[in-house]
C-alpha cells in the first residue's frame, strides 16, 4: 500500500519536519531578524489560539510576526504582506484585512504586498485545500494585535503615560485623558524599536467592534486593476529580451520523443529556435513531460512554428488507455470486495438479510480544470541564480522544485507570485514553471512558456475517474440497516509513486469513510485501480464523486420508499451527535478532531436552513423539480437545493439555486457568496458537460468546443446563499471548494423529481433526450 496522509509530504515533507524541530533561535538567526518571533502553531497555547487548527502541521507551519507581515511608513501608509495566492477567492484582500482590522489601520491607507515564495519567512503558502482563512484567521489577528500593541506602547512612551491609557483608533493612537493623538506614521520609527509582545498577552478586539470583518463591504484590492486591464497575471509578465516559447509535449502520459524535424518550423516568420526540452519518466510528481520547444519573438509565431513541427513519439506504457474499457474495469472492480477501510457491524450479513437492497453505481469521468488562464510562466536563469514569475498556488513548493530541477540552492531561487487567472488545483503543480526554468537556463535569456488551451486539456493533471457503488439494505419498515460503499478510482498518489493502486487517506477521507449517516452496519471499501495518466487535485477533489453517489443514493432510497427527500436525508443523518467512524487515523482535512469534529447537528442545521429559506416543498410548474443534497467537506457544512426545468426535448435549465453554508467564523460574506455562486456554475458544468476521455492513450477533447463549460445563457437564473451565523468559538472552515460537491446530486435529484429519470453517470450528455 502506498498511503500518504498529507499530499505535501510528497514534496519532500521530511525536510519540513526537521525545520519544525529547529529551535526558534536558529530560525531567527537564519533570517537575520532580531527580536522578532517565529512560531509553529503547535507551540502556541490553546488559550492564545482559542481553537487549534492543522496549520502548524503544514510544511513550515505558521509564522506569527508583525515584522514579517506589517510595515508602517512615516507617511502613514501601512503595507501588509499577503502570503497566499490570489485566484479569485479574495484571499489577497481578506488576510491583510484581518491584520488591518486588529491593528486599527484605516483600509484606505493600506497597501497589500504580495509575498514571494519563502516559507521559512512567511510560513506555509500552499493556497489549496480551502485552508487560508481556516489556518490564518487567528494568526493574522495576532499579527495585527501585535502591531497595534507596539504602536500603542510607542505612543505611551512618547507621552510618558501608562500604555493602558492609550488606544489605537482608526490609524492613530489617542490618549483621551489629555486629548493627544499621534498618527501611525508619526509613531512608525519608535514602534519598530518596541519588542514584539507575547502572543499570550495580546488583547484581541471584541468582534462587536469590527469595522471590516464579517461586514462584506470591502472590495478586492485588485478590483480596479482587473476592470481596467492593469492587473498582472502570469501571462502578463514581460522582461527585456524575453523570448516566447510553446512546447510540443508527448500526447500520451509517459510517452517519449523519438525524433523531430524542425525545418518547417524554423521557416515561420518570427521563429528563432527549436530545441528539446528535458522530460522525466512517468510518474515524477510535477516534473516536466519533456518534448520540443519552439522559441519565437512572440507567442503567435511560436504557436505557428509548433504547428509546423514534425514529431515522432513513442507512446510508452499508457498507449492503450481507453476510457470505455477502463470504465468497465472500474465497474467490475466495484462489484467485488475491496480493501476494507471502515467497518461497523456486519454490512455483508445485514445486506443478505435485508428486506430490500437498493444498488447504485455512479460514474464520474476525468475532468480538466480549464482555469481561464492556461498554465504560463516566465523564468530568468543566470548562472546559479533563478527568478520565476508565475501564477502558482504553491510558491514555496515551486521554489524547492526549481532549485532541485536546476541543481542550485533554494536560496538562489526567487519565485514571484502573480495573480492567478483561476487555479482550481491545477496551479498547485508547478511543471510549467520548471519548463520555463529549464529553457531559460539553456537559452541564457528570459523566457515565457505559454500553454495553449489544447496543451492544458491534453497534458494536465486531471481529476480522477471513478465508480462509486453503494448498496443500501432496508428492513421491512423501510429503515436503512446496511450501507456498503465501494469506491474505485486511480489515486492522486499515483502521480508521485509508480504502482499505486489504492487511494490515499486524504482521498478516502473525502466523503467515503467519513460518511455521517446513523446506520448500524457499515462497510467502506476501496478496490484497486491503476492510473494511466497524471491525476491531480481538482477543486473539492474526491468529494465530487462521493457526494454525487451518497446524496443520489439518499434520493434513490426516498424514491423507493415513497418518502420526501429532505425527510429521508434528515432521518439518515440521524440524531445530533459527533460521528466517530471506526477508521484508523481518520483523515480530517488535516484538522484536529477536537476543533473540527463531524457534527451532525451542524449538518442537520444547513439542511433545515436551506429547506426553510429555499422553500423546500414549494409548488413548482410542470416539468420542474426540486432536489436537495448536503455534504461536509473541508470541515464546512453545505446544503443545496436546485430547481430544474426539463422541457420535452430533454433540455434542462436551472431557474433557482439555494445554498446554505456553515463555514464557522468567517471574514467576508460577500466573497463567500461569490465562491458559492461560482461553485454552482462549476457544478452545473460538470453535470452537463464534464468529460475528458481517452482513446489510444490520448485525450480526445481539445478546447472549449468539445470540453464545454457552462455559459451565461444557461447559468442558473438566481443563486441564493445563506450563511449560518457562527457560534462564539466556532473555528473557521473552508469556503473555496465545499460549494461544488452538493450541487451535482441536488441537481440529479431535482431531475428525478421533474422527469422520473435517475441519472447515475455524469455528464448527462444526451441521457435526458431519450
Amino acid at each position: 500500500m502506498n498511503f500518504i496522509d498529507n499530499p505535501r509530504k510528497l514534496r519532500g515533507f521530511e525536510k519540513h519536519v526537521r525545520v519544525e524541530k529547529v529551535s526558534r533561535r536558529s530560525i531567527l538567526k537564519g533570517l537575520g531578524i532580531t527580536g522578532g518571533f517565529v512560531l509553529a502553531a503547535p507551540v502556541m497555547s490553546r488559550q492564545a489560539l482559542a481553537y487549534e487548527t492543522g496549520a502548524g502541521k503544514m510544511p513550515h507551519g505558521v509564522v506569527v510576526d508583525p515584522r514579517v507581515f506589517v510595515s508602517v511608513a512615516p507617511d502613514g501608509i501601512v503595507t501588509i504582506v499577503g502570503h497566499r495566492s490570489e485566484m479569485g477567492t479574495g484571499v489577497r484582500t481578506s488576510l491583510p484585512l484581518i491584520v488591518a482590522e486588529e491593528m486599527e489601520a484605516d483600509w484606505s491607507r493600506v497597501k497589500v504586498q504580495q509575498a514571494h515564495g519563502d516559507e521559512v519567512k512567511f510560513g506555509n503558502q500552499d493556497t489549496d485545500g480551502s485552508r487560508s482563512t481556516r489556518h490564518y484567521l487567528m494568526p493574522m489577528r495576532q499579527i495585527g494585535a501585535s502591531a497595534r500593541t507596539m504602536l500603542e506602547q510607542a505612543a505611551a512612551k512618547r507621552w510618558g503615560v501608562p500604555a493602558t491609557e492609550v488606544k489605537a483608533v482608526n490609524h492613530e493612537v489617542v490618549h483621551s485623558a489629555s486629548g493627544r493623538k499621534l498618527g501611525f506614521g508619526e509613531l512608525a520609527a519608535d514602534a519598530a524599536k518596541e519588542s514584539v509582545p507575547s502572543i499570550e498577552g495580546l488583547k484581541l478586539k471584541d468582534p462587536k467592534d469590527f469595522r471590516y470583518l464579517t461586514k462584506g463591504q470591502v472590495g478586492m484590492v485588485d478590483l480596479h486593476d482587473i476592470t481596467t486591464g492593469k492587473a498582472r497575471y502570469g501571462a502578463d509578465v514581460r522582461l527585456p529580451g524575453m523570448k516566447y516559447a510553446v512546447i510540443a509535449r508527448p500526447p500520451v502520459t509517459g510517452g517519449t520523443l523519438v525524433s523531430f524535424d524542425p525545418d518547417a518550423a524554423l521557416k515561420v516568420p518570427g521563429v528563432e529556435k527549436v530545441m528539446k526540452v528535458q522530460g522525466w519518466p512517468w510518474p515524477s510528481k510535477f516534473q516536466p513531460l519533456g518534448g520540443v520547444a519552439v522559441i519565437a519573438r512572440n507567442t503567435g509565431a511560436a504557436i505557428k512554428g509548433r504547428d509546423a513541427l514534425k514529431l515522432v513519439w513513442d507512446d510508452g506504457p499508457n498507449g492503450k488507455y481507453d476510457s470505455v474499457a477502463y470504465r468497465k474495469e472500474l465497474e467490475e472492480a466495484s462489484r467485488k470486495p475491496g480493501l476494507v477501510l471502515r467497518k461497523e457491524g456486519d454490512a455483508d450479513a445485514a445486506l443478505k438479510g435485508a428486506d430490500k437492497v437498493i444498488v447504485g453505481e455512479y460514474y464520474v469521468p476525468h475532468l480538466a480544470h480549464v482555469a481561464m488562464e492556461p498554465p504560463v510562466a516566465v523564468a530568468d536563469v543566470k548562472g546559479d541564480k533563478a527568478e520565476i514569475w508565475a501564477p502558482v498556488q504553491s510558491p514555496g513548493g515551486t521554489r524547492e522544485d526549481v532549485a532541485k530541477t536546476l541543481g542550485i540552492p533554494e536560496g538562489n531561487v526567487t519565485v514571484n507570485v502573480t495573480l492567478l487567472g483561476g487555479g482550481f488545483g491545477r496551479k498547485s503543480k508547478c511543471d510549467f514553471a520548471l519548463e520555463a526554468a529549464l529553457l531559460s537556463k539553456e537559452l541564457g535569456a528570459p523566457v515565457k512558456v505559454q500553454w495553449t488551451r489544447e496543451d492544458d486539456i491534453h497534458n494536465g493533471f486531471l481529476h480522477t475517474v471513478s465508480v462509486e457503488r453503494i448498496e443500501a439494505g432496508l428492513d421491512k419498515s423501510g429503515k436503512v440497516i446496511a450501507w456498503r460503499h465501494r469506491s474505485v478510482a486511480p489515486s492522486i498518489a499515483s502521480t508521485f509513486a509508480a504502482g499505486t493502486v489504492h487511494q490515499a487517506p486524504f482521498e478516502i477521507g473525502m466523503g467515503l469513510v467519513d460518511m455521517p449517516f446513523e446506520i448500524a452496519n457499515i462497510s467502506c471499501e476501496n478496490p484497486e485501480a491503476a492510473a494511466h495518466t497524471r491525476i491531480g487535485w481538482f477543486r473539492s477533489v474526491s468529494n465530487i464523486p462521493r457526494a454525487f453517489a451518497v446524496q443520489s443514493m439518499v434520493g434513490e432510497i426516498a424514491q423507493a420508499t415513497g418518502r420526501d427527500q429532505k425527510d429521508m436525508l434528515l432521518e439518515l443523518i440521524g440524531s445530533p451527535r459527533i460521528v466517530k467512524p471506526n477508521v484508523k487515523d481518520l483523515w480530517n482535512y488535516g484538522e484536529p478532531q477536537d476543533s473540527y469534529p463531524i457534527d451532525t447537528a451542524r449538518l442537520r442545521k444547513v439542511v433545515e436552513l436551506v429547506a426553510e429559506k429555499g422553500g423546500w416543498g414549494r409548488q413548482v410548474p410542470k416539468g420542474h423539480g426540486l432536489g436537495i443534497a448536503v455534504h461536509r467537506s473541508f470541515v464546512s457544512y453545505i446544503a443545496t437545493i436546485v430547481e430544474v426545468a426539463v422541457d420535452d426535448k430533454g433540455k434542462l435549465t436551472v431557474p433557482r439555486v439555494d445554498t446554505a453554508i456553515d463555514c464557522g467564523t468567517y471574514v467576508n460574506p460577500e466573497r463567500i457568496a461569490s465562491q458559492i455562486e461560482g461553485a454552482a456554475i462549476m457544478g452545473l458544468s460538470l453535470v452537463k458537460y464534464g468529460e475528458i476521455s481517452f482513446k489510444e492513450g490520448k485525450v480526445q477533447q481539445k478546447n472549449f468546443d468539445d470540453f464545454q463549460v457552462v455559459r451565461i445563457d444557461e447559468s442558473p437564473v438566481v443563486t441564493n446563499v445563506y450563511i449560518v451565523p457562527p457560534g462564539p468559538d466556532t473555528p473557521p472552515s473552508g469556503v473555496g471548494e465545499p460549494g461544488v460537491p452538493p450541487f451535482a446530486p441536488a441537481l440529479i435529484n431535482a431531475i428525478f423529481a421533474a422527469t422520473g429519470k435517475r441519472i447515475r453517470s455524469l455528464p448527462i450528455g444526451k441521457q435526458l433526450e431519450a
Binding site: M87, I226, R238, N298, M372, R453, F704, S715
Partner: protein, 150 residues
C-alpha cells in the same frame, strides 16, 4: 508595413501580416489587458472593439485591422470609469478576473449597439464569453446596472 490605430495611437507592424491581433497587442505592443483563453474564438477572453464592433482578437489578423481603429480594455475610458467598469466594481463582479477584460469590452460593445438590453438579450450577447469562475449572475446584473443606472 501595416498601420493600425490602437486606443487612439498609431502603431505599425512589418512582421507576419497573419499574426493574430491578440499576440500583436500582447507581445509586440505590450497591451496585456487583452487575454488569451482559447485561441479559437470560443471563450471571449480576447475581445476587443474594432471600429464599433466586438471581435475576437485571437482569430483576427493584424492585416484584418489595417487602417482601422482598435479599442482594448486599456482604451475603454481614460480613468477606467466607463459605466460598465463602474457597474462591475459596484457589484464586485470578478473572482480571478482573467475573463473580465473580455467581458467588459463585450458588454461595452453591447451597450453601444443596444443601450437598454433585456435580461435575455444580455444573456445572449454575453454567451460567447466564458467565465470559468462562474461570475455570470453578477455579470448579468452589472450589464443591467450599467444600462439602467439601477
Amino acid at each position: 508595413m501595416i498601420k493600425v490605430k490602437i486606443n487612439g495611437q498609431e502603431q505599425s507592424w512589418d512582421g507576419d501580416p497573419d499574426l493574430p491581433l491578440l499576440w500583436f497587442l500582447r507581445d509586440e505592443a505590450g497591451l496585456t489587458g487583452t487575454k488569451y483563453g482559447c485561441g479559437q474564438a470560443l471563450c471571449g477572453a480576447c475581445t476587443v472593439i474594432v471600429d464599433k464592433e466586438a471581435v475576437r482578437a485571437c482569430v483576427t489578423s493584424v492585416n484584418d485591422v489595417a487602417g482601422r481603429e482598435v479599442t482594448t480594455i486599456e482604451g475603454l475610458h481614460p480613468n477606467g470609469d466607463h459605466p460598465v467598469q463602474k457597474a462591475w466594481r459596484q457589484l464586485n463582479v470578478p473572482q480571478c478576473g482573467f475573463c473580465q477584460a473580455g467581458q467588459i469590452v463585450q458588454a461595452a460593445a453591447l451597450l453601444m449597439d443596444n443601450p437598454k438590453p433585456s435580461h435575455d438579450q444580455i444573456r445572449e450577447a454575453m454567451s460567447g464569453n466564458i467565465c470559468r469562475c462562474g461570475c455570470y449572475q453578477r455579470i448579468e446584473n452589472a450589464v443591467h446596472l450599467a444600462s439602467t443606472g439601477v
